[in-house]
Symmetry: C2
Amino acid sequence: MTLAPRPLSLEVAIAFVDRTVSRLPAESASVSSLCRRVVAESIHATRAIPAADRALIDGYAVAASATVGAGSYNPLLLPLRAISAGDAIPPGTDAVIPLDLGLTHPSGVVECIEAVAPNQNVEIRGCVAAPAALLASEGTRLLPAQIAVLISAGLASVKVIRRPLVRIVLASEPSATDSDGPMCRALVERDGGVVVNTLAAGRTRQAIRGALETEGVDIVLVIGGTGPGVGDHAAAALAEVGDLAIHGIALRPGETAGLGHTRNAVPVILLPGAPAACLFAYEMLAGRAIRRLGGLDPAPPYRSRGMLTARKIVSAIGMTEICPVRFTTSDAVEPLPSFGEIGLMAAAAADGFVIVPEEREGYPPGAPVTVYLYDGNCIGGL
Amino acid sequence: MTLAPRPLSLEVAIAFVDRTVSRLPAESASVSSLCRRVVAESIHATRAIPAADRALIDGYAVAASATVGAGSYNPLLLPLRAISAGDAIPPGTDAVIPLDLGLTHPSGVVECIEAVAPNQNVEIRGCVAAPAALLASEGTRLLPAQIAVLISAGLASVKVIRRPLVRIVLASEPSATDSDGPMCRALVERDGGVVVNTLAAGRTRQAIRGALETEGVDIVLVIGGTGPGVGDHAAAALAEVGDLAIHGIALRPGETAGLGHTRNAVPVILLPGAPAACLFAYEMLAGRAIRRLGGLDPAPPYRSRGMLTARKIVSAIGMTEICPVRFTTSDAVEPLPSFGEIGLMAAAAADGFVIVPEEREGYPPGAPVTVYLYDGNCIGGL
């Protein structure tokens, strides 16, 4: 299997992913297990929240009109009923007196020493959400507070997009120090997928074919064996038992990546075995496919920022190049030694990366560039 | 149990957390399970990476000096050895000719049709990392690419900070729609902790005391029962079986929060039961403690940004107030109805929040403010 003489542009490869990979169907999930799940259909309140007027604080329920004139020099003996925060307001009352403004007599009677207004310290029916109010939009990746809102709304389960099930196939020489498998597993989890199995097929075309013929997953990542060498069988195996649509992409690192489908139309991404190439072929193509399957924004999950180049960035024309950079000032970056030179250390040591499009030979000093940030607080960085 | 007449400032409560909660000890973790783990001691390379000169591409190993003068009009018959990317460079060779520049004769001999320079297409010993080079600093929360670097360095396990073990105690009226428990569980997971059990103690002082006397966790979160009502037993229970250091904090929402320790010096955070108060007492105090235990940056894990107020923000003097806001333009925000008015819907509907310090009565229109962003890409938002 030889690579195409001219690799396809990354844009064409991305368009292929976008055209052929679509969102998985919905499933029901219990409200207690919704963290990071993606809402499949917008969720609306089925009733008012709260369903009744409720006390906002601990205190005494009262009819506000009966408290007019009350004060510490004019305590009023009133029919006050003790009430806890969250309790429904009893009929005939419309306000809550805080505990410290109702004095308990030795006799057990309660005196009111401050007037309250109607609805004071009361959470009014429907103030959180009116019936049919939007609680969470389709496509939202649920935050802890949003989960609590859904539980408060009385929902027991919610329609969420099924999590993408991922198979990883290792098609390189078996090695005690395979770093691609654990790295891709961590990236899949970041992108909302679940790695259901990792098959060590090695440099055996038969075994790779077998891994591509087994069902039960939503996408297959084949790692290694994508090059033109005699032990590289990933592309040939896919061509034999499915469809090898693209092999060879103008992406550096990541040139020997490929895309296709199994016989049953399950997407297959061929990732190079060299670690930096594996990482960026994952980031640009495999991660995009997994995020699309799971209903997430398909763009790489990094925060980006417009900055300036402090030094020249060099890149080959005709190749989309990923250039690791570090900050020199708060708004400028300089290139680090490239992935070709120091491999993954470029990612481990960088503050982020710049994507140099294929029509450019790089950037002169002082040029505006978009920097994708390795930001510890962002899931791209997780 | 009555609240202190004057609540303590949030700053004092935060200082108490910082003074009394410290990082957990280290443990060994396999390199295959390092995602999101925090490095306990800086990790250095024990040997050069790579350990030997290696081929960067598939091709033919050659002595560069022997290729001088080679070209398509002057092919040289050379002793070329097929080599795969990642293989060690054989003795006597120092460069790799790409597959397409070595023509295989029908006789099986390989012809070189382009000269190569010494070290061309070779990854030099130690170029990724010299012996003793820093691979990951103490306190780093490991990214997928960093995990791959550690595996490439031949490490089998790494010292990481132990994950904080968390007990959640529900001290409110048992309810089918408890939203605080699942919300806090999701927040604990975001902050790197593990909820080992959730005990429904209800409004029973005896049961709360029991939950505070059981060992085996690094921190206890008591949810609900923090108010001054007759069914509120959280603070009294803690005072009886441990140390109630602070009860009542000038934080809105979150005024009835408390802090202390069990008899065995395990930190205890009392969180109000009202959902918005629970959320922000968690964010300001409990999350801080859990992040400190786990060796993470203790600050709330939200990206912040300087913006302007498009409308006035109102706040009570003497109280640190959390004000939910939404964007009006790309650099301005306006307040939403407050947590007091619409509860957690304020968090679910907001783009972020502003923390109004206790010495301020709010902000006039056009004032500069720091906005903490509910950013889908950030773990604060997860």
